[in-house]
Symmetry: C2
Subunit: 334 residues, 2 copies
């Protein structure tokens, strides 16, 4: 009896699940980054096929379709190139590419209306209506936006330390943590040409990194609950994310609120601060009741890819099917 293959293709890792029309998960596999924009088409395909083969247990299986959740820019790729590669695995129908935002949303709910807020390396919010993307805010990348993302946090940390070192900003315990991370000794009395030596070294070491690597400093803000500068960065992070989510709110759409990405699911304080901000800004904007008050946290988009595989092929996904996908997948993931 033919089944489904659903894939969550992320920038650093790819997850595939083989599942029955009932929602019963039959196999699971993981591999490396599966984003064609960052890895190239062939590199991404290697990851997709690697995770898929593992999910299928190594042998071809009759597959009704292959559903892939991928970042926005990949949605325009020609589908037949994907289909060719999946035929040897047993594909009878098509490859369907879905937005990673939808995959994240459906990882937290089986309902077709609601909201998703993702803050990992990037930051983006989406309104989902009738199972489709109704509006998207931010997700504009490290230079133009992604306000409240991991990069944004790390960048703010680096700027706060640079400012603390020459007195533009308040002293902060972040300075010690960032300089230690970069192997720089701090002697505030040491200056060269008027500039504090540690700041000169910070400049040299920071510009040796690719800009996006500043996200390495993001976790430091969560290590300093008593540091005013760190807490102020967290507060601005939460305010930015609340603003991004509020931008997609619409009184005609209400439903579950899904939180994804490490900043929201691992940095406990940010998630709570966003909810506090959200209560205020949503009420101020007349959006009270649009968001469910308790967000569902999702670690990745593989459950949502499975939900999309079933829904897009006309299978029913109700609360019990959604629960079956989650419990049988959890058992496979161990």
């Amino acid at each position: 009896m033919p089944n489904y293959l659903a894939i969550d293709a992320g920038g650093t890792s790819t997850r595939a699940v083989f599942l029955a029309p009932s929602g019963q998960c039959l196999g699971y596999g993981i591999s490396g980054g599966g984003n064609p924009v960052s890895r190239g088409f062939d590199g991404a395909m290697d990851s997709l096929l690697g995770a898929s083969k593992a999910a299928l247990g190594g042998a071809p299986q009759p597959l009704i379709s292959v559903t892939v959740g991928m970042a926005g820019a990949s949605l325009e790729l020609p589908k037949h190139l994907f289909a060719e590669r999946f035929k040897p695995l047993g594909l009878m129908g098509n490859v369907v590419i879905e937005s990673d935002l939808l995959a994240a949303f459906y990882s937290g709910t089986h309902q077709d209306d609601g909201y998703a807020l993702i803050a990992g390396t990037g930051a983006v919010a989406a309104r989902i209506a009738g199972g489709r993307l109704g509006a998207v805010a931010d997700g504009t990348g490290w230079l133009l936006g992604d306000s409240g993302s991991g990069f944004w946090l790390g960048h703010e940390v680096a700027r706060a330390v640079a400012a603390a070192l020459d007195g533009r900003g308040a002293p902060t315990a972040l300075t010690e943590l960032v300089l230690a991370d970069l192997g720089i000794a701090l002697d505030p009395s040491s200056r060269s040409q008027g500039r504090v030596t540690a700041q000169q070294q910070l400049i040299v070491k920071t510009y040796e990194l690719r800009p996006v690597e500043l996200s390495r400093f993001a976790p430091l803000v969560f290590a300093l609950p008593d540091d005013a500068v760190a807490q102020e960065i967290i507060a601005r992070c939460a305010a930015a994310l609340a603003q991004t989510l509020t931008a997609v709110a619409d009184t005609s759409v209400s439903g579950p609120l899904i939180f994804g990405g490490s900043v929201l699911t691992k940095g406990g304080t940010v998630g709570a601060a966003v909810l506090a901000q959200l209560g205020r800004s949503a009420e101020a904007a007349g959006y009270g009741g649009v968001f469910e008050t308790e967000p569902a946290l999702v670690a990745d988009g593989v459950v949502g890819a499975a939900v999309l595989a079933l829904k897009r092929n006309g299978e029913t996904v109700d609360a019990s099917v959604f629960e079956r996908i989650n419990s049988t997948l959890a058992a496979l993931r161990g």
Copy 2:
């Protein structure tokens, strides 16, 4: 009778002046970028020698010394490499490399104590005491700081437009100007995968630029005196620059305040806003009276390089010598 050669070596252009110990300017020349970090040593030397030969009128002249004002990172370069290249021009003594911050400061005053605030592509402040750099704040580059610089302004403009397009930020007339600059048509009702099409095009076009090229959007904020978003960016720019200057303020040093760089000397509103902020923050921090209330605006550092050439060689530079340098140089520049 031997004379002096003074050079202001900038990132995009280089200016040289040939002057007598009296401050009388005898020749002037310009050429391309003279920064060894961005142009390489040989490329920078070509610019330095090109401007110098023009200043000397094409023939070698007996030169007591050559004084070069250059950005901080160049100050560690081995001086004898410079000296070798200037011997064919008549150099009898040494090449002395001075900070471009000192050259900017002395372009506005002959006094040895005071403050300089420069906001061009980058942003930096310095306290000068006894003719040396006492403290430097910011100038930490586009990624770590340069708050209030031309890059910072352009970056804030681009971010404000990205936010306005998806409703995170307030609507602004900057949107029309930025999209027109990039050749993007604005149809707010056109969306793809939930995202406003014009924003998707903004993302693509912006990431094709080098980050520092965002400074091209800086002048746009000055074109919109009635736009709240543009005015808010200008206000934050001025606040950041005032904070940078305040960071180097010290009650033991008072004297002239020198403003340099296009943001402060061409964007009239920023300079005035910095002074307003400064009054407040300097007073709050107990620095009242440290800054002179009327800043001197300087267009570049060539006058300061000339002042440094004389001072470092024991020549007197009083108000009348300073005035002679300025008036005779102005005549040469035409």
